[in-house]
Amino acid sequence: MTIFSPQTEGEIVDAVQWALSENAPVEVIGHGSKRLLGRPLQTEHTIALSSYSGVTLYEPDELVLSAKAGTPIAELESLLAANGQAFQFEPMDYGPLLAQPSGKGSLGGLLATNLCGPRRLKYGSARDHVLGVRVVSGRGELFKSGGRVVKNVTGYDLSKGMASSWGTLGIATEITVKVLPAPETETTLVVRGLTDDEAARAMAMAMGSSGEVASAAHLPANVAPRVIEGQLTGEAATLLRLEGFAPSVNDRAIMLKGLLASAGTIHEISRKTSRRLWREVRDVIPFADGTERPVWRVSMVPMEAYKLVASLRMGAAVDAFYDWQGGLVWLRMEGEPEAEAVRALIRKYGGGHATLVRASVSVRAALPVFEPQPAPLAALSKRLKQQFDPSGILNPGRMVAGV
């Protein structure tokens, strides 16, 4: 068993070349924070990018940052915060949910798993903010794509191609991302006592208004007490986050309170607690229970998603809460993952996809962790993998057996 810890881009190329010459599949990791996600690997060797770390370019006025793949996200977020900026897509931290330490993810992993957070609706995910990449392909070749400017249509967007590829196409060595000003302030409106379907309608109304809501989530009554130290105990809590310059936030809060007056009682959570609340929603704190009980991450059409939960509840014990205007469902199963039931219901209610983000190793090895694809799409994905990694040496089977 060999662990490569390359210090330079040249050493990353060498490590892949070695794996090719030995025909030895390798696991590619940063700091290993997402090893419990996806399908378990059984490779003998590992390429760890944790030592390939550091910011290579940061120009706040130009809204651009480049760093080596092993750079910790936490380090980048501190640097940005010191300059009044942020990753607007708010990358989540899987640590708490997986009973792992917080703040361990790297920039490479952020792109490879296409992280995002509660602002997904308004600002997108990692793939919407990546501007350029340098990559060592599974052929052991170093290539670049994209650049450091926002507006660029020169050639295929291989930077996006690396997003959500889970290290199976190539090893991104250096990544350039768009960074943006952090909002001056934020506040959260909380509507109490709504059922899941009432909440879906209220969130749709708020998101479709001129209130410029940055995030909309719904915590049913049994989940609401599990955030911000029980401050939302009692009834279900539907959360609407407003961000920006103070006069604008105040004005929009007043407008939205008027718009939603008939929906239920509304109170406001101020800046500091609001930030904490959304971080906890982002990191799935309500299900961070230290167990391996199966947790699904489901993306559906917002106005359909609550129907999935209602249907599941008729046959199995499940716990659920919603982000992204209701379209992102975090589902914790009390027993079996019920993969086929969950996926059949998603197809029934408008389509989407489900990822089994937490389960024991044996379950993740046996079940399709990611949403199975129709045959022509699966074949195309396989062809793409072959074009980047013809020998199948990079994270083989991390997403799907054979890819």
Binding site: W18, R139, F143, V150, K151, V153, K160, A204, S248
Partner: protein, 498 residues
């Protein structure tokens, strides 16, 4: 064609023309196949009018099944296909080939679904960009990306080119506003990527498709995000004695945490041309003019207008006017929006270039352009999407003067080389097409380009879709499949091993 080398027409295909037409007529009956020379003339170029070529035959399918059958037929019979939307490409992306079927998607012009609670619209690819906004604006919604050709360009073409517009720093490009696609591969297989929900599992093929210039597949349905229209928009018109000061003003606005809805810059020649044309009241003594638009709730817009005005004055603005009503805002924009035709009035012909640079490099690039302008003896006017660094130099020339087009093209190529040299890129929003195809090696080496072509190989191994575009040379997929591994040596003799 001026110096543009397209793939050599395949004699065998040309010889089979009648058989191909007959086959297509069985797939798309009625008016859907156009093969008479006169009728095909309207399709012989796109908006890059310097290049013209009649296609082998034009086919206008009406159903997904027809698109699938046409592509399957062409795939099985090794016939090339050039897809086309509204034909507004500025880079020759839809330029026909002599031996290729031109697949025109304009009959796919229906809006299939508008879903306000989920804020999405599902449309066919031939619907115009503005057509989407028109369909939802009575409910206060719009589709955000707004390329200047939005009245004519199709959403399918926007996907192919990853179109931007003046508002993309704040609202994103096409790639950030498209949620799903239905598309047909050259094999005829129909696949769906994404949908009304967010994100896809597996590889981001949606991201690869967006901006792929018709080389990977043919889009037959697009699901887009629609947004609530901002309640207020106000603009400032700010003149500066130097472009350095204007550039510093833009940087300071962003440093203050403000992302304007739009932020446009014009240089002196562009200001004069525009003012002479539309009389927008632009100051004529300044070297650089900024038009800065703030949008959102009125309280926010008023707050930000004050901040921006202060920043502008601190940076030495010689004029600074704030729009007081919608009419004034439109007048500020009128000159900028008419900049291209305005330049068209002062010169028989012009070439519109499209590089992007890191904003801070603007003074250097403008100075470089002035030098080049003298060297080539051709005038240049500049409009600049200042927020995102996208530069549109307009090179003035006269096509009736022998060699002047070639000279203008050489000037343009030098400008793009300069853009790349300062850390920018060859094209910000117009696409590579045929126009910038041969400049790709300025930005990418062989390894970079070969990996891009390998993506093409995964979608279209025979290189039948839109060949001759984007890549200076299309290597055969089999040739690219070979591996070059230097075997035997274990790297890192000195690193710790476990």
């Amino acid at each position: 064609m001026s110096g543009l080398l397209m793939p050599k027409a395949d004699d065998a295909t040309m010889a089979r023309r009648e058989a191909i037409i007959a086959a297509l007529k069985t797939i798309v009956p009625g008016e859907g196949v156009v093969d008479a020379t006169n009728a095909m003339r309207v399709f012989e170029s796109d908006a890059l009018t310097a290049y013209r070529q009649l296609p082998l035959v034009v086919v206008l399918p009406q159903t997904v099944a027809q698109v699938s059958q046409v592509l399957k037929y062409c795939h099985e019979n090794n016939v090339k296909v050039v897809p086309r939307g509204s034909g507004t490409s500025l880079s020759g992306g839809a330029l026909p080939l002599e031996d290729a079927v031109l697949l025109v998607m304009s009959r796919f012009n229906q809006i299939l679904e508008i879903d306000y609670p989920n804020r999405v619209a599902v449309v066919q690819p031939g619907v115009t960009n503005l057509g989407i906004t028109k369909a939802v604006e009575h409910e206060g919604f719009y589709y955000a990306p707004d390329p200047s050709s939005q009245i004519a360009c199709s959403i399918g073409g926007n996907v192919a080119e990853n179109s931007g517009g003046v508002h993309c720093l704040k609202y994103g490009l096409t790639a950030n506003n498209v949620l799903g696609l239905e598309m047909v591969l050259i094999s005829g297989e129909v696949i769906r990527l994404g949908g009304k929900h967010l994100d896809t599992e597996g590889y981001d093929l949606l991201g690869l498709m967006t901006g792929s210039e018709g080389l990977l597949g043919v889009v037959t349905e697009v699901t887009v995000r629609i947004l609530q229209k901002p309640t207020t928009a106000r603009a400032l018109m700010v003149g500066f004695p130097t472009s350095e000061q204007a550039g510093k003003c833009v940087a300071d606005i962003i440093a203050a945490g403000i992302i304007p809805g739009g932020m446009e810059m014009m240089d002196r020649p562009a200001i004069h041309a525009a003012e002479d044309f539309v009389h927008a009241g632009y100051p004529l003594e300044v070297e650089a003019l900024l038009i800065i638009e703030l949008d959102g709730p009125s309280v926010e817009v008023d707050h930000l207008i004050n901040m921006v005005e202060t920043i502008a004055r601190e940076n030495g603005a010689s004029t600074c006017v704030v729009s007081q009503n919608e009419e004034e805002r439109m007048v500020f924009w009128a000159g900028r929006k008419a900049a291209f035709p305005a330049v068209g009035r002062i010169s028989p012909d012009y070439l519109c270039m499209d590089g992007t640079i890191p904003r801070k490099e603007l003074p250097k690039v403008l100075a470089g352009m002035r030098r080049l302008s003298e060297t080539y003896g051709l005038r240049v006017a500049n409009v600049f999407h200042a927020g995102d660094g996208n530069l549109h130099p307009l090179i003035l020339y006269d096509a009736n003067v022998p060699e002047e087009l070639a000279k203008a093209e050489a000037f343009g190529a030098d400008i793009l080389r300069l853009c790349v040299e300062v850390g920018g890129v060859l094209t910000g929003e117009h696409g590579v097409g045929v126009e910038k195809r041969d400049l790709m090696p300025v930005m990418f080496n062989d390894v970079d380009l070969n990996q891009q072509i390998r993506v093409k190989c995964a979608f279209d191994e025979k290189h039948l879709l839109n060949p001759g575009k984007v890549f200076p040379q299309l290597h055969r997929c089999a040739e690219l499949g070979r591996m070059h591994v230097h075997r035997g040596k274990l790297p890192f003799p000195d690193i710790p091993r476990f």
